[in-house]
C-alpha cells in the first residue's frame, strides 16, 4: 500500500493539470455546439456531405459523422478526449518503471522487504488509479457539459460507450508502455517507442478513414478500434473488445516476466 500512496503523491499535481485541460476542452467544445446547431444545423449536415472524404478525415472527422447532430459532434469531441487520455496513459506507464530508473533509486526500492513481483504489481495499480480517475472524470464532465445545452437528442448510451472504450484504449497504451520500459534498458528509449507507436496509430487512423480497403490496418490502429458509426448505433465491436483486452493482458504478463529478470543498471 505504501507504494501506491507514494505513486499517488507523485502524480497528483500533473493529474490536476491534465484534468483542467480536459475540462476546458469538453466544456468549450460542448458549449460551442449550441452555436452550430442553433444557426443552421440542417445546412451544415448538407454541406458536410459534399466535402470529400479525404478532407474530413484529415480534419479528424471520420466517415459517416455529421457534426450538425449532437451525436456526431460529441463523437468528434470524444476523439480529442481520446488523444488526451492516450498521451496521459503513456506518461503514467512510463513513470511506473522509468521514474525509478532515471532517478537511479531502484537499489533503494529493491532493498525493501517486498518481492519484485509485488513491487511491480502495486506500482501498476498505483499509476492505474489516476488513469481510471481521469477516464471517469472524462465521462462525468461530458455528461455535465451535455446537461448545459438543450437538445432533443438523447445520446446517453453513446456517451457511456465512448467512456468505456476510451478507458480501454488508454489501458492498451498504458500496458504497452509498461512492457516497453521493462524490456528496454534505457527508459528514455521506451518513452520514444511508445510515443512513436501512438503517432503511427494517429497517422494510420487518418489513412484508415481515407482508404476503403484498409481493414487490415485497423488492428494496428488502436485509435480506430471503436469507431463512431459503431458506437453511435449502440453496438460495441466484440472482436476489438477481445483484441484490446488480449493486448492489455499479454503486455502486463510479459512485463512481469521481463521485470523479474531485469538487471539493475
Amino acid at each position: 500500500m505504501n507504494i501506491v500512496k507514494e505513486e499517488l503523491r507523485v502524480q497528483i499535481k500533473r493529474f490536476l493539470y491534465w484534468t483542467i485541460g480536459l475540462g476546458v476542452l469538453i466544456f468549450v467544445g460542448t458549449a460551442k455546439f449550441q452555436g452550430i446547431s442553433g444557426a443552421n444545423g440542417e445546412s451544415i449536415a448538407e454541406l458536410m456531405s459534399y466535402y470529400p472524404k479525404v478532407l474530413l478525415a484529415m480534419l479528424g472527422m471520420p466517415q459517416g459523422i455529421d457534426i450538425g447532430t449532437l451525436s456526431g459532434y460529441q463523437g468528434i469531441l470524444a476523439y480529442y478526449s481520446l488523444i488526451c487520455v492516450c498521451i496521459y496513459a503513456i506518461f503514467l506507464g512510463n513513470g511506473v518503471i522509468g521514474r525509478e530508473m532515471t532517478d537511479q533509486t531502484y537499489e533503494f526500492l529493491f532493498t525493501k522487504p517486498r518481492s519484485r513481483r509485488s513491487i511491480l504489481a502495486w506500482k501498476i495499480i498505483g499509476a492505474a488509479i489516476p488513469l481510471t480517475a481521469y477516464c471517469i472524470l472524462n465521462y462525468w464532465l461530458t455528461r455535465m457539459a451535455l446537461t448545459m445545452i438543450t437538445s432533443e437528442e438523447i445520446i446517453t448510451n453513446q456517451v457511456e460507450l465512448y467512456g468505456i472504450t476510451t478507458y480501454l484504449i488508454g489501458l492498451i497504451f498504458y500496458g504497452f508502455t509498461i512492457l516497453c520500459s521493462t524490456i528496454l534498458v534505457k527508459s528514455e528509449r521506451a518513452s520514444v517507442i511508445s510515443f512513436a507507436l501512438f503517432f503511427v496509430s494517429f497517422f494510420l487512423g487518418g489513412i484508415y478513414d481515407v482508404a476503403e480497403e484498409a481493414h487490415v490496418l485497423r488492428i494496428f490502429t488502436p485509435l480506430r478500434y471503436f469507431t463512431y458509426t459503431e458506437l453511435a448505433s449502440n453496438n460495441l465491436p466484440i472482436e476489438y473488445l477481445v483484441i484490446s483486452l488480449a493486448i492489455l493482458t499479454l503486455s502486463i504478463i510479459c512485463a512481469f516476466q521481463f521485470f523479474q529478470k531485469r538487471d539493475l543498471l
Binding site: G21, L25, V28, G35, N40, Y50, L59, Y80, I87, F198
Partner: protein, 264 residues
C-alpha cells in the same frame, strides 16, 4: 566550438529521422491522398455551383480557394506542422535539458567555458538542425507546388511557414527545458507540448474568434490564413517575434544564473 560540434553530432541522428519522416509524410500525402482529393474536385465544383449564393456566403467559404492544390495543402499542413512542432521541441529540449535529465549538469559547468557561451553554442546547434529540416521541407514543398499548378509567390511563402513555426516551438522547448526544475522524459515532454498545442488549436478553432488565435502558435503561419489574407498577418508576426526574443532573453538569463538543480 567544441560544444557546438558535440551538440550537432548528438542531435544529428534524431534530426535526420524527423526530417526524413516529415518529407516522407509530405510525399505520401502528395502521391496517395492528393489524387483522391483531385478526383473529388470536379464533382464538388458542380455541386457548389448548384447551391444558392447566400448559402455559400453563410459559411464564408471561398470555394475556389479550397478546390485546388493550395486548399489541399492547407488541410494537409496540419500533419506536417504537428510533426515539425514536436521535432523542434524535442531537439531544443534535448540540447538544453539533457544534462538536467541525466543529472550531470555539474560536469558540464566545471568545464572552462562560461555559461553564456554554452548557451549560445547550444542554441546555435539546435538552430542548425531546425534550419536543415526547414530547408529540406521547403524544397519538397516547392517541388509539390511546381508539380501541381505552378509555383506562385504564395506557394513560396506557405512553404516557409513550417520553418517559422519550428522556430517558435524551438523557443518553447528551450524555455521549458531551462526553466523546469526536474525533467525525466524528454521525448514524452516534447510530445505533450506538441499535442497540447494541437489541442489548443482545436479549441481556438471552436471559438471562431480572432482574438484567441493569438494563443495558438499553430495559427501564426498557418497556410489557410496566409492564403486567405495573401500574406502573413502582421499581428502574428509581431507576436511571434516578441515570443522568440523574449524567450531567448529569459532563457539566457535563467541559464546563466540558475542554481544547479539538485535531485529532489
Amino acid at each position: 566550438m567544441n560544444v557546438y560540434y558535440f551538440e550537432v553530432k548528438s542531435l544529428a541522428r534524431s534530426c535526420f529521422i524527423w526530417t526524413a519522416s516529415i518529407v516522407m509524410v509530405f510525399y505520401s500525402f502528395l502521391l496517395f491522398v492528393y489524387p483522391i482529393f483531385e478526383d473529388g474536385i470536379a464533382i464538388m465544383e458542380v455541386m457548389f455551383a448548384n447551391m444558392p449564393a447566400e448559402f455559400m456566403q453563410a459559411f464564408g467559404l471561398e470555394v475556389s480557394s479550397l478546390l485546388n492544390y493550395s486548399g489541399f495543402y492547407a488541410f494537409a499542413f496540419l500533419y506536417y506542422s504537428l510533426m515539425g512542432a514536436i521535432m523542434a521541441t524535442h531537439l531544443s529540449l534535448t540540447a538544453f535539458a539533457r544534462e538536467k535529465a541525466n543529472q550531470c549538469e555539474e560536469f558540464l559547468f566545471v568545464k572552462p567555458m562560461n555559461r553564456s557561451r554554452l548557451f549560445w553554442a547550444k542554441l546555435a546547434s539546435v538552430a542548425t538542425c531546425v534550419l536543415f529540416c526547414s530547408v529540406c521541407y521547403f524544397l519538397s514543398s516547392i517541388h509539390g507546388f511546381a508539380e501541381h499548378g505552378g509555383l506562385s509567390q504564395m506557394g513560396v511563402l506557405v512553404s516557409i511557414s513550417l520553418g517559422l513555426q519550428q522556430i517558435i516551438f524551438l523557443c518553447i522547448g528551450m524555455l521549458v527545458g531551462v526553466c523546469k526544475q526536474k525533467i525525466r522524459f524528454i521525448s514524452g515532454l516534447a510530445a505533450t507540448i506538441g499535442f497540447s498545442a494541437f489541442l489548443v488549436q482545436t479549441i481556438v478553432n471552436l471559438f471562431e474568434e480572432d482574438m484567441f488565435t493569438y494563443l495558438s502558435p499553430f495559427h501564426y503561419f498557418a497556410p489557410s490564413l496566409v492564403l486567405e489574407q495573401n500574406g502573413y498577418g502582421v499581428g502574428y508576426m509581431v507576436i511571434a517575434l516578441c515570443m522568440v526574443l523574449g524567450s531567448i532573453l529569459f532563457s539566457y538569463q535563467r541559464y546563466t544564473n540558475a542554481d544547479i538543480a539538485m535531485g529532489k
